[in-house]
Symmetry: C2
DNA sequence: TAGTGGTCTAGACCACTTT
DNA sequence: AAGTGGTCTAGACCACTAA
C-alpha cells in the first residue's frame, strides 16, 4: 500500500481518465494480493492528498469497485477490501431445497426471517398459484445464509390450503411440505440476471447494483396442483447453477 | 416532462438525499410512460437550472438509471429513455443452439463476428476440452443479435480435430457441427450472474455494470468426447432461462 | 470528539456529435 | 460553431462510527 497511492504515474495523455487509472491500480493490487481481503484502504481524503487528486475523483475511482463487490465502504468506519466469497454450485437437474443442497455439501444453513404472514394474494400470486376467489396465501420471506454468509433472499408464497400456518416452517420448506404430504415432485424455474436494488443489496450485504441471479420457481404435486411460488435472489458472485442438457429425442422433437 | 424538473418538492428532511428524490421522479416517469422510450431528457445543465440543483447532483441521479439500463447517454448528443427490450425465454431442458432457438419463435438471427481464429489453447481450454499436447483450438467470437438487437456475446472454443476450419461456421454452430457428424448430444451448463465490464457492455449496447447472465457450456458427443467449450454473456434484461426440475427417483437418491 | 464516508455546490475544461 | 456528456477541482456540511 506504500507506493500504491503516490502522485507518480498519473500522466493523463496515454492512459485515459485519472479515476480509471487509479481504479485499475487498486483492482490490480487486490487481484495480486497486495491488498488482502479485510484490509483497509486509506481514508478518501488521505488518498486524495497522497495522489494529488481531488476527493471526488478518488470516490469516482472507488465507486465501480464497490459496485462490483470488490470493495466495501462503511460510513464512519472506512473502505475495506471485500472478503473472498467461495463460489457454490448447485445442480439444477434435481429438485432439491436450499437446505438439503447445502447440508449435502457440509455447509451450515440458517435463515433470518424477514416476515411470515397470511394475507390476500397479489394478482401475481393468483396467477402463479391458480387461486380461486377468497383463497389466501402464506408468505415466507427470509434471507438464506450458509456458514453465516447471506447467499440468497427467498420469497415463497403458498396457498393456505397447502400450508395452513406459516409457523410450521422452521428450517427447510420442502421438509415441512414433506411432512404434510405436499412436497412438489416437479418444478419449473425461470432464471435471469438483474442488478440488485438497495433493499435487496442490503439484505445480502453487498452494494446496490451488484449483479444478482433471479430465480422464479413454481412447484407442482404429482397431481398437477401448484404448491409453491418462490422468487429468490442469489448473490451473483457466490452462486453457480449447473444444468445438464440433452438432445431432444427424435420422436419428441418439434 | 413539463413539471418533472421543477424546483418544487425537493424538501430534504423527509425524503432523503436530493439525487435519490430526483432519481425516483425520473424512474416513476419512465415506469408510468410519461417519459416514453426513445424520448430525450433535457440537457444536464438545463435540468440543473430547472431544478435548482447542481449538475453533479443531476449526474448522480441519472447515473443509477443508466447503470440499470433505463436511460442511455450519448456524449455530444443527449440523454434518452432506453428502448424497452422484450424479454425472451429459453427452455433449458433441451440442447438447442441460439440460432435454432430463435428461429423457432420467428425471430431473425444474425451474428457479428468479432474474431475467428486458430491458435494454441489457453490453460482453461486445455482443461475444458481435454486437449493433448500440441493440439490446437478454433476460437469463434461473435455478438448474437435477434431482430437487429444484440442479445449475447458467444465465445466458443473447439478442438481443430472437431472443426478444422473456423470459416466453415457461417450461421448456426450446431448446424455446422451436424454436417460434420460432430453435433453434441449432451451438454453441461453453469449459469451465474455478473456485472458486465466496459468491453462486453459496449458489445451488447448497454452501460457497464448492468447485470448479465454468464453461461459456460461444455458439449459432449455420444461417445463422451468433448466437442465444444462455449462461454456466453447474455443481456440480463433480455433473457430468461427456463428449466424444468424433477424429483430424484428413489433408487437414484444419494 | 475525532475521523470516516455521504452529499452537495459552483465553476472549469475537454471530447464528441450535430448542424 | 454550438451544444452535449465526461472529467476534474476545492471546499463545505452532514450522518455515522469509534474511541
Amino acid at each position: 500500500m506504500d507506493q500504491l497511492f503516490t502522485a507518480t504515474g498519473f500522466d493523463d495523455p496515454g492512459s485515459g481518465p485519472l479515476y480509471l487509472q487509479l481504479q485499475r491500480r487498486i483492482a490490480e493490487a487486490i487481484a495480486s494480493g497486495r491488498l488482502s481481503p479485510g484490509s483497509s484502504l486509506p481514508a478518501e481524503r488521505d488518498m486524495a492528498a497522497m495522489t494529488g487528486l481531488s476527493r471526488v475523483t478518488i470516490r469516482n475511482a472507488i465507486q465501480a469497485l464497490v459496485a462490483s463487490g470488490q470493495l466495501v465502504q462503511r460510513r464512519g468506519s472506512g473502505t475495506f477490501v471485500a472478503q473472498k466469497v467461495e463460489r457454490l454450485e448447485q445442480a439444477l437437474s434435481l429438485l432439491t431445497s436450499f437446505t438439503e443442497d447445502m447440508s449435502r455439501r457440509g455447509k451450515s444453513v440458517d435463515s433470518q426471517w424477514i416476515s411470515r404472514m397470511i394475507g390476500a394474494p397479489a394478482p401475481e400470486e393468483v396467477m402463479a398459484l391458480g387461486l380461486g376467489a377468497d383463497e389466501h396465501v402464506v408468505r415466507l420471506e427470509r434471507v438464506r445464509r450458509s456458514d453465516g454468509l447471506p447467499l440468497a433472499i427467498e420469497r415463497a408464497s403458498l396457498p393456505t390450503t397447502v400450508l395452513p400456518d406459516p409457523g410450521l416452517v422452521e428450517g427447510s420448506l420442502y421438509l415441512t411440505l414433506d411432512t404434510l404430504g405436499m412436497r412438489p415432485v416437479r418444478a419449473v424455474q425461470r432464471i435471469s440476471a438483474a442488478n440488485l436494488g438497495p433493499r435487496d443489496a442490503e439484505l445480502l450485504g453487498v452494494s446496490p447494483g451488484v449483479a444478482g441471479l433471479r430465480i422464479e420457481r413454481i412447484g407442482y404435486l404429482a397431481t398437477g396442483r401448484v404448491v409453491e411460488f418462490t422468487r429468490s435472489l442469489y448473490r451473483g458472485d457466490a452462486y453457480d447453477f449447473a444444468v445438464e442438457l440433452k438432445l431432444a429425442p427424435e420422436g419428441q422433437a418439434k
